[in-house]
Symmetry: C2
Subunit: 130 residues, 2 copies
């Protein structure tokens, strides 16, 4: 394992995650950063953070890709075998850290990772929509 450096850009990206309660796309992060760094740099920082298990990547049904830093991330390893919720109305994506699916696999498969995303209406949008 190589030494990952604490650069100003990386710190700025982490602060954005800290402030956000929902998952963020590359574009959303870029907007909040106000030209702290190039957009290529953001891609590279995200790659590094995913690799270091500090954030995780969430790929949505509509094709959008988002990243999130979970609450349990003070632990040594960032486990993300939990569900994510994608609101069809406000398009916010949140970690549902308590929701862990149970399932039975056929033989001869080796499962390394799971991605469980539910979509529908989040509590906020459910209330405001009658």
């Amino acid at each position: 394992m190589k030494a990952t450096r604490n650069t100003t850009a990386k710190t700025a990206v982490l602060e954005v995650f800290e402030k956000s309660k929902t998952a963020l796309s590359h574009t959303e992060i870029q907007k909040q950063l106000n030209d702290v760094c190039d957009r290529v740099t953001i891609y590279r920082i995200l790659d590094r953070l995913v690799n270091d298990d500090i954030i995780h990547k969430i790929s949505n049904l509509d094709g959008t890709v988002k990243y999130a830093k979970c609450n349990h991330s003070h632990q040594r390893v960032h486990i993300h075998n939990h569900a994510h919720f994608s609101c069809e109305n406000c398009h916010e994506i949140t970690c549902l850290e308590s929701v862990k699916p149970s399932y039975i696999m056929p033989h001869n498969y080796k499962v390394n990772e799971i991605n469980f995303t539910l979509s529908g209406l989040c509590p906020k949008c459910l209330n405001s929509n009658i």
Copy 2:
């Protein structure tokens, strides 16, 4: 509901799905079609087929988007609340129609759709990899 027409391009796309045991990306379909139609047309056909519940869209963790026609599609409505498996080695994506996750949601969420993708090694790659 509008009338969906049976064009030669749509028939050709459906034949490609019929022949394939795994999910296919837009690019993979285009290659098999040998200039039967424009690539934009393929996008529009896929949209229509998804809309008519004949195929379904699978969005993978690595960002790739694939489409599949399930075996149970002879039924009136194509239900796809089952799991999909994405092989990290051969990158094939298959429907696991028997795998249906059970889970408990917090209150105040309305779930309309689920996307459950497992990744790892498929039986084929598991055997050939010692």
